[in-house]
């Protein structure tokens, strides 16, 4: 089973992205992906409840293909964000949480802890667009949460430092790395598997910002055993989410 764990739905004028459920499923069919783990752009960057409600409607169109992340724009929304995660889990069956760190609003701070704690309580993996050092901070304070470091350091304010991402993931049992990134550095996945084991790496594309075929080839073309690729491409998320 191939699970793309990093997919966006909705519209963003900044990222030049626009996608609905039908579009994403067509892309998944073309690429050969079985399931997509989806976060809503409105919920992530503007109005969390409006966006999460819209995501629920889109999920209902393809319940056998799409899995939902509850998303919040910033942990600084405090208890409202915590309540929103619980609402999305209980009302819509969303299985994960997506959070985003910006240089203007970093998340390595106590305001984030309750959000991670509720995700841990509800057994929701947290896809976090953060820096390795932010992950280090968060895992130190909320070690029980299953945190997935989006892009494994491969975004501008993490300065592309996947070596640091691997080092931090090695220090925290529940910290995983997401492969989605513009970076396609030869050997990055081989190094990550050698240091962490394939069980701590999960496949993502960042579709429709990034090209899914390019991202898929990053894993398929890596110099790794087939068993490791199978875990990365879907086995790990299937285990975490209890999918068959």
């Amino acid at each position: 089973m191939i699970i793309d764990g990093h997919v966006h739905i909705g519209t963003s004028s900044y990222f030049h992205m626009q996608a609905d459920a039908d579009f994403l499923v067509r892309q998944a069919d073309a690429a050969g992906f079985d399931r997509l783990f989806v976060t809503d752009l409105n919920a992530l960057f503007y109005d969390m409840s409006e966006g999460n409600d819209a995501l629920a409607n889109e999920l209902a169109k393809h319940p056998d293909r799409l899995i939902g992340y509850a998303s919040v724009p910033t942990p600084r929304l405090g208890q409202r964000a915590v309540d929103e995660v619980r609402r999305c889990h209980e009302m819509y069956g969303m299985r994960g949480l997506k959070i985003y760190s910006l240089p203007e609003a970093p998340i390595a701070e106590p305001m984030t802890y309750p959000l991670l704690e509720v995700a841990a309580e509800l057994n929701m993996p947290v896809l976090a667009h953060t820096t390795p050092d932010e992950c280090d901070h968060l895992m130190t304070h909320v070690p029980q949460v299953r945190l997935v470091m989006a892009h494994m350091g491969g975004h501008p304010w993490a300065k592309g430092d996947w070596h640091r991402a691997i080092a931090v993931a090695k220090a925290h049992r529940n910290l995983l790395l997401d492969t989605a990134s513009s970076q396609i550095d030869n050997g990055m996945l081989e190094r990550a598997v050698a240091e962490l084991g394939a069980e701590k790496i999960v496949f993502g594309t960042d579709m429709p910002l990034l090209d899914p075929h390019t991202q898929f080839a990053k894993v398929r073309g890596a110099d790794l055993p087939d068993e490791a690729k199978a875990l990365i491409l879907g086995g790990n998320y299937a285990r975490i989410l209890g999918l068959t």
Binding site: F15, H16, M17, A30, A31, G154, H155, P156, A158, K159, G160, D161, H163, S182, Q183, I184, D185, N186, G187, E190, R191, M207, P208, L209, L210, D211, P212, H213, T214, Q215, F216, A217, K218, R220, G221, A222, D223
Partner: protein, 251 residues
């Protein structure tokens, strides 16, 4: 489909231990990814001394004459310029890559004009990577700085690489629409169906297949082109024919 990679390299990388390093490693990557030929250079010439790097590049191409096409790199220090490019072309190089960030110069320096004039005279491409690879730790050379040198040398064939998505993509398209002597190599272009979008903007005959190997996974760029929303004839042109034409190779 035949593939000619216009942007390959080999050697060491100061920033981390490369998974593949040698010219033989590069050829192995090409074999595993269905790449017939690659224009390449030694990273020694980028990171340390361009003269020694060029010597390594020529030696690698001599070791794999059917697979590796030598590319020169030249900086202003020590004593670089058009004469050195002539010497490298006479020795077998098929073009030159400029790395202003690594060789400490600006694209409006007289050195650049000297190299570009020789490239025009010999009808060989000048490749300017705005970043050495698509890793966010490397600051990109502003696309407008490249537009300036391209404007000053309208008969020199240029290959750009490095721009990725969003404003970088828009800047690339702006330069390519203005300057007919500019082609683009795709290894840093990671946006959704970005090859298809670029072809819509500037036409397929100015888009070139490249991988950035050994720094990048070549498989990603093979897949990027194989799945791009373009016609098969456009795909074939990008994969091979455009590069062969630009580098004056027989194919």
């Amino acid at each position: 489909m035949k593939r000619f990679d216009v942007n390959a390299c080999f050697g060491h990388w100061s920033y981390w231990d490369l998974y593949d390093k040698t010219p033989d490693d590069l050829v192995g990557l090409m074999d595993r990814n269905g790449i017939d030929q690659a224009a390449c250079l030694s990273l020694r010439g980028v990171l340390l001394d361009w003269r020694d790097g060029n010597a390594e590049t020529l030696a690698a191409a001599a070791r794999h004459p059917d697979r590796l096409i030598p590319m020169a790199t030249i900086g202003p220090f020590p004593d670089g310029g058009g004469d050195e490019l002539r010497r490298m072309l006479d020795a077998g190089a098929r073009g030159v890559r400029l790395y202003p960030s690594f060789h400490s110069y600006q694209l409006d320096d007289a050195f650049v004009d000297d190299v570009c004039a020789v490239a025009a005279e010999r009808r060989v491409p000048v490749m300017i990577p705005t970043r050495p690879m698509m890793n966010w730790r490397f600051q990109a050379v502003p696309i407008d700085a490249i537009g300036g040198v391209v404007d000053r040398h309208p008969t020199t064939p240029f290959i750009l690489s490095g721009p990725n998505y969003l404003v970088e993509f828009q800047g690339l398209v702006r330069v390519m629409r203005r300057c007919a002597n500019v082609s683009y190599e795709i290894s840093c272009l990671q946006g959704f169906n970005a090859v298809g979008k670029l072809v819509d903007c500037v036409s397929a005959d100015r888009v070139l297949f490249g991988t950035g190997a050994v720094l990048n996974y070549p498989a990603c760029n093979v897949a990027k082109l194989d799945h791009a929303d373009i016609t098969d004839s456009q795909r074939s042109a990008i994969a091979f024919e455009n590069g062969i034409r630009l580098f004056h190779l027989s194919g």
